[in-house]
C-alpha cells in the first residue's frame, strides 16, 4: 500500500510546506524589526481588498500561470526546464515582431497571431536544449540556464541595435499600434458609473492563461501524447518497451514547455507595456519553478499557486510602498517556498508518512 492517502500527498504536504515557509518569512520580518501581522494585513489590504489590487494580483498571477505550466509540463516528462525566463524573453520578441510588423485589424485577431508567434519563439528557444538533451545527453538544466543568459544577450543586442526606434534612448521597441493593444480589466469590467480595476495591468490574457490550464490538464491526462509524456517521465525504460520514443517526447515536451513560457510575454508585453522592454520577464520564469512545485505539477495546483504568488507580489509591492520592507521580501518567500515544497519535501513528508503508518496500524 502507499504510505499516505492521495489527498495528503496532494494537499497536506504542500500546505505544511507553505506554512513552514510562512513561519520563516514571519521570522524574517520580525528580524528586520517589522510586525509580521501588520505586514500581512497590509498585503491583504493592498492585494485583495480593492479591485485595483486584484487587478495587479491577477496580472502577476497570469505570468506565473504560464511559467508554472511551462515548468509543470516539463516536470511530467521528468525534465527540469529552468529556462522559462529565457524562453519568455524570446517569446516577447515574437510578440513584438508580430505586433509591430503585421497590420492587425483588431485586438483579438492580434492576440491570436501574437499568441502563435510567442509560443513559436518560446518553443524554438527550448528546442536546442531539448534536442541536445535528447540526442547528446547534455544536461537540460545546465543548457537551459545557459540559454537564459544567451537569450538576455540576444534580446539586448536586438533591442539596442535593431528594434530601438531612432532617437530613443532606452533599449525598447516602439509602442505597438492601437489594434495590437489588449483590453485591460478596466476596459472590460468598468461601467459608466463605477470604474473597476482602475489603472491595474490585468488584461484579457488572464483568461487565456486559465484556458491554458484547462488545455494542459486535457493534454496531460486525456490525450495519447500526455499519456506518453507521463509514461516517459516515470520510466524511460518502460517507455522504450512500449514504443514511445524518448527523443520525440523530450523534444515535444520541451517545445510545449517553451511555448507556454513564451506565451507569458503576451501578458507583460502586449497586455501591459505595449512595447517590448529589456527586462519584461522580471524573473517570472523562475517563479514558475516555485509555482509548479507547489502546485504539484497539476494545472489546478499551478493556478492556485500562481494566484498565491500573484498575491505575494502585489502585497510585497504594497509593503515596499508603505513600510520599510523592500520588495525583495517576496524573493525570500519565493525561495522558502521552493526550498520547502521542492528541496526539503522529504523533511515534511517523512514524519507525515510515519504518522499515517502509525495511524493505520492502530486502526
Amino acid at each position: 500500500m502507499d504510505k499516505m492517502p492521495g489527498w495528503a500527498d496532494a494537499v497536506l504536504v504542500p500546505l505544511i510546506s507553505l506554512l513552514l515557509a510562512a513561519i520563516l518569512s514571519a521570522l524574517v520580518i520580525i528580524g528586520i524589526g517589522e510586525d509580521p501581522v501588520a505586514a500581512f494585513k497590509l498585503m491583504v489590504d493592498g492585494a485583495l481588498m480593492r479591485s485595483s489590487g486584484w487587478g495587479y494580483t491577477l496580472y502577476y498571477a497570469t505570468n506565473f500561470i504560464f511559467t508554472g505550466l511551462a515548468v509543470a509540463v516539463a516536470f511530467h516528462a521528468r525534465l527540469f526546464n529552468i529556462g522559462g525566463e529565457g524562453q519568455a524573453m524570446i517569446g516577447g520578441l515574437g510578440v513584438a515582431l508580430a505586433c509591430l510588423y503585421i497590420p492587425w485589424p483588431n485586438w483579438y485577431v492580434a492576440l491570436l497571431g501574437a499568441t502563435v508567434s510567442a509560443a513559436l519563439f518560446g518553443a524554438m528557444w527550448a528546442l536546442i536544449p531539448a534536442y541536445l538533451q535528447a540526442k547528446r545527453g547534455s544536461h537540460i538544466v545546465i543548457t537551459t540556464i545557459m540559454f537564459n543568459f544567451i537569450a538576455a544577450a540576444v534580446l539586448n543586442y536586438i533591442l539596442v541595435n535593431i528594434l530601438r526606434p531612432q532617437g530613443a534612448m532606452d533599449p525598447a521597441t516602439a509602442r505597438f499600434p492601437e489594434a495590437a493593444q489588449l483590453p485591460t480589466f478596466q476596459d472590460m469590467f468598468s461601467t459608466a458609473e463605477t470604474a473597476m480595476f482602475r489603472g491595474a495591468p490585468a488584461n484579457v490574457t488572464f483568461f487565456l492563461a486559465v484556458f491554458m490550464c484547462l488545455a494542459v490538464w486535457v493534454l496531460i491526462w486525456r490525450t495519447k501524447l500526455g499519456y506518453e509524456i507521463r509514461s516517459f517521465g516515470q520510466s524511460e525504460s518502460a517507455a522504450k518497451y512500449a514504443g514511445i520514443s524518448p527523443i520525440k517526447i523530450t523534444v515535444v515536451a520541451m517545445l510545449i514547455s517553451g511555448g507556454l513560457a513564451g506565451m507569458m510575454a503576451l501578458n507583460t508585453t502586449m497586455g501591459e507595456a505595449e512595447r517590448l522592454v529589456m527586462n519584461a520577464t522580471e524573473g517570472a520564469g523562475f517563479i514558475g519553478i516555485a509555482v509548479a512545485l507547489m502546485g504539484r505539477s497539476h494545472p489546478l495546483g499551478v493556478l492556485l499557486a500562481a494566484l498565491l504568488f500573484g498575491f505575494l507580489y502585489q502585497g510585497g509591492a504594497e509593503l515596499a510602498l508603505w513600510t520599510n520592507i523592500p520588495r525583495e521580501l517576496i524573493v525570500v518567500i519565493q525561495a522558502l517556498v521552493i526550498l520547502f515544497t521542492g528541496a526539503l519535501d522529504n523533511m515534511v513528508r517523512m514524519p507525515l508518512e510515519k504518522l499515517f503508518l502509525a495511524a493505520r496500524r492502530k486502526a
Binding site: I145, P326, E328, L339, A343, L344
Partner: protein, 321 residues
C-alpha cells in the same frame, strides 16, 4: 593594441578570473562528491554582502572575510541538509539558495544601512589592498619581463594569490591524498564508499563545506577587493559562469584554471571595448557576454570533447543491497 594595453587587459583578466576560479573550484569539490550545486551564485552573493557589511562595520577586512565565509557556509549547510540529509532535489535546492541570497542580502542591507540595498563604500583597512611583490618596482624597467612582473604578477590582492594557489592544492588533494580518493569515489559510487566503511554523508558534507568556504572567499573578493562594497545582485551571473567553467573544465582543477582565465579574458575584453571591429564585421559586446555560455553549451553538446559529469552526481544516496 600595444603592449601596455595588452598588459592592462591581461591584468584585468586575472582580477576578473579570480572570483570565477574560486567559485569554480568550490563547485568542483561539491560536484566531485556527487552534489550538484547551482547555488554558487547565491553563496557568493551572500558572502559578498556579509563580508562588505562586516568590513564596513568593523573596519577590518579580515573580519569581513570571516563573515562572508560563514554566510556562504551557512547556505552550504542548508544545501547539504536538503540534498544530503533529506535527499531532496539538488538542483531545486540550488535554485532556492540563489533566491534566498538575492532576497535576504537586499533585505538585510536595507535594514542595516538604509542605502537602497547597498553597503557603505569600504575604505582603508576595510578593503583588501594590492600586494606589491618584492622587486616589482626595481624590475619594472627590465624590458618585457619587467612590466609583466610588475603589472601582471605583482599588485593583486592576497585573495588573487590564494585563488591561484588553490589550483595545484586542489589537484594535489584530489589525486594524491586519501581524502581526494574518497571524495572522487563518493561522487562516482557512493555505495562503494559506504560499504568500505566510510561515511557518505560525512564526506559529502565536508565537500559541500569546502565549497561553501571557497564561495565565501570568492564573494568576499568581489565586495572587498575587486570593488569597494556591496551592491544589489553584484555577482551578476558569475556563479553561473563558474558553473559553465566547471563543465568546460570537465571537473578538473587545471582545466578549471584555463577555463576561468578564458572566461575572465572575455569579460575583460567586453569591459574594455564595447564592440570589437574586426574589419569585415563587428563583434557586438553582447556576443562577448554570451560567449562563455555558448561555449559551455557546445562542450555539453559533446561536439568538442565530451563532458562526463561524476556518475553519482545529482542523485541522493540511498542504501541499497
Amino acid at each position: 593594441m600595444d603592449f601596455a594595453t595588452l598588459l592592462q587587459v591581461l591584468d584585468s583578466t586575472v582580477r576578473l578570473a579570480t572570483p570565477l576560479l574560486l567559485a569554480c573550484l568550490a563547485g568542483l569539490f561539491s560536484e566531485r562528491a556527487g552534489i550538484f550545486d547551482i547555488g554558487l551564485e547565491g553563496k557568493m552573493l551572500a558572502a559578498a554582502f556579509f563580508s562588505a557589511a562586516i568590513a564596513a562595520i568593523t573596519g577590518d577586512v579580515w573580519m569581513g572575510l570571516g563573515a562572508g565565509i560563514l554566510a556562504s557556509l551557512a547556505l552550504s549547510v542548508l544545501h547539504g541538509l536538503a540534498s544530503i540529509t533529506f535527499r531532496g532535489n539538488q538542483l531545486i535546492s540550488g535554485v532556492a539558495i540563489n533566491f534566498l541570497a538575492a532576497g535576504l542580502t537586499v533585505l538585510i542591507a536595507q535594514d542595516w544601512f538604509s542605502q537602497g540595498g547597498r553597503t557603505p563604500s569600504l575604505i582603508g583597512a576595510g578593503r583588501f589592498e594590492p600586494i606589491i611583490l618584492p622587486g616589482a618596482a626595481e624590475f619594472a624597467g627590465v624590458p618585457l619581463i619587467g612590466p609583466i612582473y610588475a603589472e601582471l604578477i605583482s599588485g593583486h590582492s592576497i585573495l588573487v594569490y590564494v585563488a591561484f594557489a588553490m589550483v595545484p592544492l586542489t589537484w594535489w588533494l584530489l589525486y594524491r591524498t586519501r581524502f581526494g580518493l574518497r571524495l572522487r569515489a563518493v561522487g562516482e559510487a557512493p555505495e562503494a564508499v559506504d560499504t568500505a566503511g566510510v561515511s557518505v554523508v560525512g564526506l559529502r558534507f565536508v565537500a559541500v563545506g569546502i565549497c561553501g568556504i571557497l564561495c565565501g572567499v570568492a564573494g568576499a573578493y568581489l565586495a572587498t577587493a575587486l570593488q569597494a562594497g556591496f551592491v544589489k545582485d553584484m555577482t551578476a551571473g558569475r556563479g553561473f559562469i563558474a558553473l559553465a567553467a566547471l563543465i568546460f573544465a570537465k571537473w578538473r582543477p587545471w582545466y578549471a584554471l584555463y577555463a576561468c582565465l578564458l572566461f575572465g579574458l572575455l569579460q575583460a575584453v567586453a569591459l574594455r571595448y564595447q564592440n570589437i571591429d574586426l574589419g569585415a564585421f563587428v563583434v557586438p559586446v553582447q556576443f562577448m557576454d554570451a560567449l562563455p555560455y555558448i561555449l559551455t553549451v557546445v562542450i555539453l553538446a559533446g561536439f568538442v570533447g565530451k563532458a562526463i559529469p561524476p556518475r553519482a552526481g545529482g542523485e541522493p544516496y540511498v542504501k541499497e543491497r
